[in-house]
Amino acid sequence: MIKFFENIGRYFMLLGKVFSRPEKARIYWSRIGFEIEALGFNSISLTAIISAFIGAVVALQMAITLESPFIPQFMIGYSTREVMVLEFSSTVVALILAGKVGSNIASEIGTMRITEQIDALEIMGVNSASYLILPKIVATVLFFPLLTLFSIVVGIVGGFAIAAFTGMILPGHYIEGLFYCFEPFSITYALVKGAVFAFIITSISAYCGYYAKGNSLEVGRASTRAVVSSSITIMIFDLILTQIMRV
């Protein structure tokens, strides 16, 4: 328990270092661009594949489950949209990215720690925490909401494709369902969740890597810790945000 609170304390102290005044803003801008490509653009294909298949599966499952004359067909489109917007594209995609991006960040920074690259930056007088972590946080917080939006669109298109392909539902009904009882705030809710989860994934993973000690085994452990801790924290904040924002 003491270790847990010690980690929380160290995490917030690290955030204090991360958000202290940068050495030269211009350098940070170029690093943010690099991180957007490394952490954001490189996650597009994974997000697209998973979202398209989940959208298709949700639509298919709904079509099978709601096969009743008393339930209108447009409910399939409606359900697919709700699943994608409210939970899948923000929370589940974040969990998947915690595995991909989180482990990447923790192992990269962990390796830099054990090979003394972070010490080298400190010797130069560079605030290593800010230099290494801040661009990653800014990049993911800016890009992950876009990824969430992209996932929603791809998932819905996936559902539409399966509807059209199997003929289990008329495409017109599916589209009607997409606009049924649509609450624009739900998109805001999804985007906010995307940004918060991005912060959680990046900061926790960076923390795990930054304090890695020892050898390559420790980097592996730091990477695992990053994924587990980020995933649990995402679930806790999913609950909190849902309660606060209630769509």
Binding site: E23, I27, T115, Q117, D119, A120, E122, I123, M124, V126
Partner: protein, 252 residues
Amino acid sequence: MIRADHISKTFDGRTVLDDISVEFDTGKTNLIIGRSGSGKTVLLKSLVGLHDVDSGKIFYDDVCYTDLDFRQRKDIRKDIGMIFQGGALLDSSTVRQNVRLPLDLFTEMTEGEKRDRVDFCLERVRLVGADHLYPSELSGGMVKRVAIARAIVLNPRYLFCDEPNSGLDPQTSVVIDNLIQDITKEFNITTIINTHDMNSVMEIGEKIVYIHEGHKWWEGSKDDILLAENPELNDFVFASAMAKRAKSVAKL
């Protein structure tokens, strides 16, 4: 000049440095030698500020480094260059980007000035033409030379080297040793080298400090070391049969 005044450091109750006082001279290659685990790396990292000492003071010329906080140390840190054992080059950056980084962060030079300065440093370490390569594409000796180029790019007044020859063949080791010594003389900097390579000691050891079990055990020059009577130092320096023969020849 760098001076340590009665510095001590413990890790988890184990004393690694015990009341060490030593002065390192400007314009000389100062060597810290000792067995593995004797505390020489901790001493080097304490001098440079990567470890905070438990007691004692460290002075850079007349400035007490230990009394400064992170921000106040920044000015001195810009005068420090350090070569790490493994080079510690940023893996995601090319040779040129690694050498250029301190210029980007701490100077207002124009692009042209930065390019010229990087070219000069790469030429100085004889690495022209390798500027587009990544650290993973370099040999051990090249990594060390890039680390030296990065360490001198801001014209440091103090240069720290943590086992610069580890993992290098004897010929490359001599090249690196001579390069460090040349740079020390050329820019009149205070260089402190942490090593257990006896070739380096005999080649460039102008001032040598022997650390044994966390204590300063002996201090002198490469000429003194051959005639020293300190048994622990002799066990360390003349561990090989060839070195023993060299000592007996020197005594004659």
